[in-house]
């Protein structure tokens, strides 16, 4: 049976394909996949899912390997081997608020998709805050008055700037990572180790 690799849909998917091609793997079936969520190449079975779901599939052994953002791994802490960083998907985690914002004299309200990362960040600072979980367009929260600030991923900073937000603090940087199911790595080691080594070598060269 071919190794099964779970890929994060969207931005990471495109960057992964470039990386994968640079390792001289067959990418043709992946380029014209249309809306298909499962693709077979000559060497692998791929499927595509949201980042957090990639970790769930790998943790439960449905996929042997997975490519997922470091932010997802820090936020959800899946029980997987978190092998090494890949040379794409570089981002930072930042606390941002409106330009020249005057912080109110009360407990802060922070909006984020990454509630665990936010909790750990303020715990480390020794500050109690109320965290509001949002699923997307987090930048709206300070603008519309739902929260004082946000904790979110920043890649170039353009989205923040266009929405009148400024970075107060940057506290984590990460990239896409290769993860592996804990049992697969041992039981299918003859199949997986050459792939992992090739990924590792490719990541080192970049």
């Amino acid at each position: 049976m071919k190794p099964v690799i779970a890929l994060t849909k969207g931005r990471l998917e495109k960057q992964f394909l470039q990386f994968f091609k640079s390792l001289d793997y067959d990418v043709e079936p992946l380029l014209d996949k249309g809306r298909k969520l499962q693709i077979e190449t000559s060497q692998f079975s791929f499927f595509f899912a949201k980042g957090v779901d990639v970790t769930t599939y790998v943790e439960n052994g449905i996929a042997d390997l997975g490519v997922v953002g470091g932010d997802t791994l820090i936020e959800h802490k899946p029980d997987v081997y978190n092998l090494f960083p890949l040379p794409f998907g570089q981002c930072r985690m930042a606390l941002a608020t409106k330009a020249n914002y005057e912080w109110p004299n009360r407990k802060k309200r922070i909006a984020s998709t990454f509630t665990n990362i936010t909790k750990d960040y303020f715990k480390e600072k020794g500050e109690s805050v109320d965290i509001i979980r949002l699923e997307g367009s987090v930048e709206l929260a300070p603008i519309l008055g739902l929260a004082d600030a946000i904790v979110d991923i920043v890649e170039t900073g353009t989205t923040l700037k266009e929405n009148g937000l400024v970075i107060e603090d940057e506290f984590l940087s990460f990239s896409a990572r290769l993860i592996a199911n804990r049992s697969s790595l041992k039981v299918k080691r003859d199949q997986l180790v050459p792939v992992i080594e090739r990924f590792k070598e490719g990541a080192r060269k970049k």
Binding site: P85, S183, K186, R189, K200
Partner: protein, 373 residues
């Protein structure tokens, strides 16, 4: 009515397989001279959360009792058995247990385990008996395609000893090793010699067949403590191979996931899907909380998982006797004439296809008799 998340009903084959797995476990351990032990389902949280047992209270089902103390549903057998037998005379003992454990960090809140604990035994004897019992048991429940993995807690501990890390640094490094997170291991050792950094990064990948031991016998040629650990693992592998088992792997970079592990660690993976069917190891230090210096080793099987992988046998013939309220007693009497079969009684035949043979009670010459339909 609904079930809480993590709880589930069971029916049919899964129950039959689980009961069969339990009964075979009882027989196998009885024949190997293990004595059965059972501990209560409700225990004080402290039994599992004390500094030595080190389990996480958050993952337990818990409540306050009337005296304000935290009680839990048993989350782990090993710590419970240690509490139960700690006050007994310190002599060679072999214990076998079966029952549920309850954890809220798993998919199912309740899971069934069957396990063994060997205390006050010669260390190699105890470990050998654990592993050979696992092999014996899996053979008896017809699970033949599995891989046994061996690791040792002291490899990592020995290698980091010269670094003199504080507890927080050691835990961070152990966690990075546990996740095989190469880049973080490098980062955490940035202020240490490149040699030790490289050695630990290489250790992450030190898993595979027994050739890994041969490789590391060369790498650690001038480190007698590490060589002695390799020798110990090799002897266990040779013992397992003598039973005909060929799928044995080692992971020299494996670190303990429970604080009380202290020495050899073992796991069994089902080859088909990689699921972990048993795990265990040496945990002498668990008994130090009871002021005992002893040798203690054990392992636990995931009985639910074994039940899923057991082959279902339908070798018994299945028959049905069609009767009526007034002939039910005749049908029941006839049942005893089919002692090797599974026999149903129905008043109106349903699901005929599931029966190999159908009988009916008829009246002939003023007498009832059972005939094949």
């Amino acid at each position: 009515m609904f079930l809480p998340a993590g709880s589930q009903d069971e029916t049919g084959v899964q129950i039959a397989n689980r009961l069969k797995a339990s009964e075979i476990f009882r027989k196998v351990t009885e024949k190997r001279n293990f004595k059965a032990i059972s501990t209560p389902v409700v225990e004080y949280a402290h039994t599992f959360t004390n500094k030595i047992a080190g389990m996480d209270l958050q993952s337990m089902l818990k409540w306050f009792n009337s005296e304000g103390e935290i009680e839990v549903l048993r989350p782990d057998w090993t710590a419970a058995v240690a509490r139960a037998i700690a006050k007994q005379h310190p002599s060679f003992q072999k214990w076998a247990y079966q029952g549920s454990v309850f954890r809220i960090d798993k998919d199912g809140t309740e899971s069934r385990q069957a396990g063994i604990e060997i205390v006050h035994a010669d260390p190699f004897l105890g470990e050998s008996e654990c592993l050979l019992t696992a092999v014996d048991y899996l053979k008896n429940i017809d699970i033949n395609n599995y891989v046994i993995e061996l690791g040792h807690t002291r490899i990592f501990e020995q290698m980091i000893a010269p670094l003199q890390l504080n507890q927080k640094e050691e835990e961070a490094l152990r966690s990075a090793m546990y996740d095989k997170r190469m880049d973080l291991v490098e980062d955490l050792l940035i202020n240490h010699s490149s040699e030790i950094k490289q050695d630990l990064v290489s250790l992450i990948d030190a898993y595979g067949g027994k050739e890994v031991i041969s490789q590391y016998e060369i790498v650690w040629a001038d480190q007698p403590e590490l060589l002695s650990i390799l020798d110990h693992i090799r002897k266990l592998i040779e013992l397992l191979e003598s039973t005909g088992l060929s799928e044995i792997i080692v992971d020299l970079g494996r670190v303990k996931n429970l604080p009380y592990y202290d020495g050899i660690m073992f796991r069994g993976f089902i080859t088909k899907d990689g699921s972990t069917c048993f795990s265990g190891g040496r945990y002498d230090r668990l008994y130090r909380q009871f002021e005992q210096e002893t040798s203690a080793v054990g392992l636990a099987f995931d009985v639910d998982l074994l039940a899923q992988h057991m082959i279902t046998e339908n070798s018994l013939s299945r028959g049905c006797i069609i009767a009526a309220p007034e002939t039910h007693a005749i049908a029941e009497k006839y049942r005893s004439e089919l002692p090797e079969d599974i026999v149903d009684i129905q008043y109106k035949l349903e699901n005929e296809a599931v029966y190999h043979t159908v009988y009916e009670v008829i009246r002939e010459n003023n007498q009832y008799k059972v005939v094949r339909k």
